[in-house]
Amino acid sequence: MKPARFAYVAPDSIEDVLDALDRFGDEAKVLSGGQSLVPMMNFRLARPEVIVDIGRVGGLDGMSVVNGSLTVGARVIHARLEAPTGAMPDGRTEPLGGVLGSLLPEVARFVGHLPIRARGTFGGSIAHADPAAEWCILARTLDAEMVALRRGGERVIAAADFFETVFTTALEPEELLAAVHLPILGDDWRAGFCEFSRRAGDFAVVAAMTAVRLDPATGAISEARIGVGGVAGVPVRLPAAEATLVGEVPGAEVHAAAAEVAAGEVDPAGDLHGSAAYRRDLVRAMVARALAQGAGAPG
């Protein structure tokens, strides 16, 4: 339970971080909060030659609101999303409103335990890409955009393209995940999140996030998003289940029908914490409850 030998660098500017990543390539690993990477190194499941610690770099821990989206800096710790605030264009910092403003605290409380939330970072979780991690499910469900920097360049990666497989993303070895853009979701959206884990603070066995947009005239669903974690190597969207919702007015039967489609739409593998059949059952329950929560009904 001691890590293999590694070199350690702790640059104090983004430029130096990007230089280090450029120089060491896939021998390097970025250390942010260390809540996943360090245990994996202690188990020797991860054996990076070089650790690039971004803890001394300024400018990566801001949250700001621009054009209807929240930009979360990669080094924002989980705990700050329990009561999210954003820097407004006029420079003031305000509590985050909108549906996202209520959803983030609801999700953040499921992330690990207090010590993990006080050290672990939003960007670290996204870049680590555990398929059952709450922030990865959120990013995929809301179609977040990931901002990746490299020496002399920047690109934006859509969530649908970002998560490739377990612990694997579209980030190149020389790229640093610097920030994530999340849509704030207007008042016509309703979102819900429901998770089943063995113990408080564990990774989800299955978790579901739902977001539906209501037509203000009819009350019917005009757009639906269902994201599920714990059923594949990446968090997945469930387009068939989403489609059953569009045009319907939210309600128990509509939710149950969508949940049933969702349970059939996933193709989970079994493991120690749940067989494939059991995970389907959980998808059914979690999707129905997330939809009910979003509709304001008790779960």
Binding site: M1, K2, P3, A4, R5, F43, R44, H113, F196, R198, R199, A200, G201, D202, F203, V205, A252, H255, A256, A259, E260, L272, H273, G274, S275, Y278, D281, L282, R284, A285, V287, A288, R289, A292, A297, G299
Partner: protein, 774 residues
């Protein structure tokens, strides 16, 4: 006012709470030892290549084999080498050992060791190990995997079952659990350059026994080995048997002439320390028309892993089940076959409760299943069956001293307000959603037994007695040297209360010395809910002797009759007068003015006493309230009530702490913790991501009520209480889960009742997937 019975603060706590305890890992200054462990469950060792010590090195030094023996015809005897010889028998078995300057370097070295092992088929679970043609774990010594097989029956059992008014059949399964002490195992050995004496610090429960076996293995006199258990971060039975690793650490320190330390990591602890609890019970029970349990037939199988543990042997789980299965009930006819089956899995040691969590699960599920068939509720069927005439002698000859089996249950049921619960449950069933359930568990806990009980097991060595040396120094302070080896239980505090009462001093003037073979009398350590009864009893007897000595000194000094001397509040006074002398002054006289001693008196104030009782039974009733989510199978424990009768309570706060800790481990056993192997014998639960102890969020407040029936079988009136929490909690929780889902027809008799198992039971009972709850 007496000190016994008061919840004084624990003298152990300031050190631990301030973080200044001294655990094995805190000693430092030693090279790091790392074991190279088998990656396969079964195989033939072809070669070990790399910079490591192997069995050949041990053999060349004449190191012997471990022999954990029961003198029984049905017991297979083995000689176990300290490192694997020729064969590996479980994933994690130590094959070689390396020494590095740091733990990280030792791990690097271990990675360089190449094990060339020809894999063989493995016998894994109970059915796999019992199957005809199963791979044999010890093919040279036995042609089956059954390593111990006890059997007994009272006359007339079959006839009694035939004529029973109702017969209930039941199978319960208990998953494999690990004790999971917060501090994993570890040891640190230093050999003096001159004289060659070795000091071993190890995280263990029985230092004297460990000294004996290591000296036997290494062929050294016990006088040349000092064994110390410093602060120990939990043990629960896992640190009772000899750790092969500890013996090798001593050997390395002597061979290399440098201090060495092995600090077990969490993965090693989960994979290769000791496991317990993997058992299956099949019961057939005959009830008469009044619902009395008249006859009980049982078939018990315990998976005992690849090797026995020393000195307890792999008979401990199956043979305890055989002896104690009738529990708090009184079947006239009892028959049992109980087997220990070897498998290519980690060996088993006793774990807090030993077989009794599963025994109790079997009996308490039996009562709950039988009750509705006999037209009764769970309370009434127990009311009719629990022991109430004392002493009661069980069909296997165990004497139960007086207890409060029925009274504890009645009190628990009143405390939880069963009627109000049933009303809430009725409402919840109509509403859907999470379903509340309540479960009752009554049980007996055999505790505090000495040599007579262990001798009946016919062990190769017979543990039992405890000795205590007690002395008052010239300052009037008392030092108690004990053979028991407390490691967090609060025994030092409790013993100081006993001494204070007998000697008339303050507990603050009593020091307890333990866990160091150089400074304590030979004894057996702390396990089996014994230390308070045995070390407490010996301390009580020794303190009485010291009081007698002080009384005669005071009589001489005060020119009074010894019988008239009263020792209290630090003074020896003549009864009914204010004439007296400070006890500290008597201590001065005893050491510094021995010319004033009564004729023939020995200078000084040292006494010793031993104690070796046959044993006593504690009893308790646990009640659990749970919420079960039928859609996910998730179970939340909402409320937990314990009514315990542990005889005289020396320090009630410490007793409550023992109960609470045990209940938490019992809830873990019921719902969360399970060591899992795949069919090839690979262990899947090697980190705390996969092996799931409860967090504070999974545990409700635990409400504790006491009854206090003084034992006539112990000198203090105290009964043991260390294991009760783990014994009762699993059955209470399983009964509650079943009660919550009874309206769906669910019957679940396997623990842990993981969400997936609960959900599968719901699906199976309802025939279709339950719809989602909105």
């Amino acid at each position: 006012m007496s000190w016994v019975g008061r919840s004084i603060r624990r003298v152990e706590d300031p050190t631990l709470l301030r973080g200044v305890g001294m655990f094995v890992g805190d000693i430092g200054g030693a090279a790091a030892v790392r074991f190279v462990r088998s990656p396969v469950a079964s195989g033939l060792i072809r070669a070990v290549r790399g910079p490591a010590y192997t069995i050949e090195d041990l053999d060349a030094d004449g190191v012997g084999n471990i022999e954990a023996v029961l003198h029984r015809p049905d017991y297979v005897r083995l000689a176990q080498p300290l490192l694997a010889r020729e064969r590996v028998r479980y994933v994690g078995e130590p094959v070689a050992v390396v020494v590095g300057d740091t733990a990280a370097e030792a791990e690097d070295l271990a990675e360089q060791v190449e094990l060339d092992i020809e894999p063989l088929p493995a016998a894994v679970g109970i059915d796999g190990a019992l199957a005809p043609g199963a791979p044999l774990v010890h093919p040279d010594e036995s042609d089956s995997n059954v390593m111990v097989a006890g059997e007994m029956a009272t006359p007339g059992l079959a006839e009694a079952l035939d004529r029973a008014h109702a017969v209930v059949d039941l199978e319960i399964v208990s998953g494999r659990q690990a004790a999971l002490p917060l501090e994993a195992r570890g040891s640190h050995a230093v050999t003096e350059r001159f004289g060659g004496r070795t000091t071993l610090h190890a995280s263990i429960q029985a230092p004297h026994m460990v000294r004996t076996v290591i000296c036997d293995l290494l062929g050294m006199p016990e006088a040349d080995l000092r064994v110390v258990a410093p602060d120990v971060g939990g043990a629960f039975g896992q640190k009772l048997p000899l750790a092969r690793e500890d013996a090798i650490v001593v050997w390395l320190s002597r061979r290399l002439g440098r201090p060495v330390a092995w600090i077990e990591d969490r993965s090693e602890n989960l994979m290769a320390s000791w496991h317990s609890r993997e058992q299956r019970y099949r019961l057939r029970a005959g009830f008469d028309a009044e619902a009395h349990l008249e006859s009980l037939q049982a078939d018990v199988v315990a998976n005992v892993g690849a090797w026995p543990c020393y000195p307890i042997t792999w008979g401990v789980e199956p043979l305890m089940a055989l002896a104690e299965l009738p529990g708090p009930y009184t079947p006239e006819h009892y028959g049992v076959r109980s087997r220990g089956v070897a498998s290519h899995t980690c060996p088993m040691s006793p774990y807090r409760g030993v077989s009794r969590p599963a025994i109790t699960l079997a009996l308490e599920r039996l009562m709950d299943i039988a009750a509705p068939r006999l037209g009764l509720d769970p309370v009434e069927i127990r009311r009719r069956n629990l022991q109430s005439d004392f002493p009661h002698t069980s069909p296997t000859g165990l004497r139960h001293d007086e207890g409060t089996y029925r009274e504890a249950m009645e009190l628990a049921v009143r405390h939880v307000d069963l009627g109000a619960f049933r009303s809430r449950q009725h409402v919840a069933r109509a509403a859907g959603g999470p379903q509340p359930g309540i479960g009752i568990c009554t049980f007996s806990e055999r505790t505090g037994y000495g040599t007579p009980a262990f001798a009946a097991r016919a062990m190769g060595v017979t543990p039992g007695y405890e000795n205590v040396e007690l002395s008052m120094d010239p300052s009037g302070y008392v030092t108690v040297r004990i053979g028991a080896s407390p490691h967090g239980q609060g025994l030092e505090t409790a013993l100081s209360q006993i001494v204070a009462d007998e000697v008339g001093t303050d507990p603050g003037r009593v020091r307890v010395v333990a866990s160091d073979t150089d400074r304590t009398p030979y004894g057996w350590g702390s396990f089996a809910s014994r230390a308070m009864v045995l070390a407490g009893g010996a301390t009580y007897l020794a303190a009485q002797q010291l009081a007698t000595k002080l009384g005669s000194l005071a009589a001489e000094a005060l020119e009074a009759a010894a019988d008239d001397i009263v020792l209290a509040d630090g003074r020896a006074t003549v009864a009914g007068t204010s004439v007296g002398v400070d006890i500290a002054e008597l201590a001065r006289i005893a050491h510094h003015h021995t010319q004033r001693l009564p004729a023939g008196a020995t200078p000084g104030l040292s006494v010793q006493a031993g104690y070796d009782p046959a044993g006593t039974f504690s009893n308790a009733c646990h009640v659990a309230e749970v919420d079960v989510d039928p859609d996910t199978g998730g179970v939340s424990v909402r409320r937990f009530v314990v009514v315990e009768d542990a005889g005289r309570l020396i320090n009630p706060m410490i007793v409550d702490g023992q109960i609470r800790g045990g209940v938490v481990q019992g809830i873990a056993n019921a719902l969360l913790e399970e060591i899992v192997y795949d069919e090839d014998g690979n262990i899947l639960t090697t980190s705390l991501m996969d092996y799931l102890p409860p967090t504070v969020a999974e545990i409700p407040d635990i409400e504790i009520l006491h009854l206090e029936t003084l034992s006539d079988a112990t000198v203090t009136g105290a009964k043991g209480v260390g294991e009760g929490g783990t014994i009762g909690a699993p059955a209470a929780v399983l009964n509650a889960v079943n009660d919550a889902l009874a309206h769906l027809g669910v019957e679940l008799n396997e623990m842990p009742a993981t969400p997936e198992r609960v959900r599968a039971a719901v699906r199976s009972a309802t025939g279709t997937p339950a719809g989602p709850t909105n």
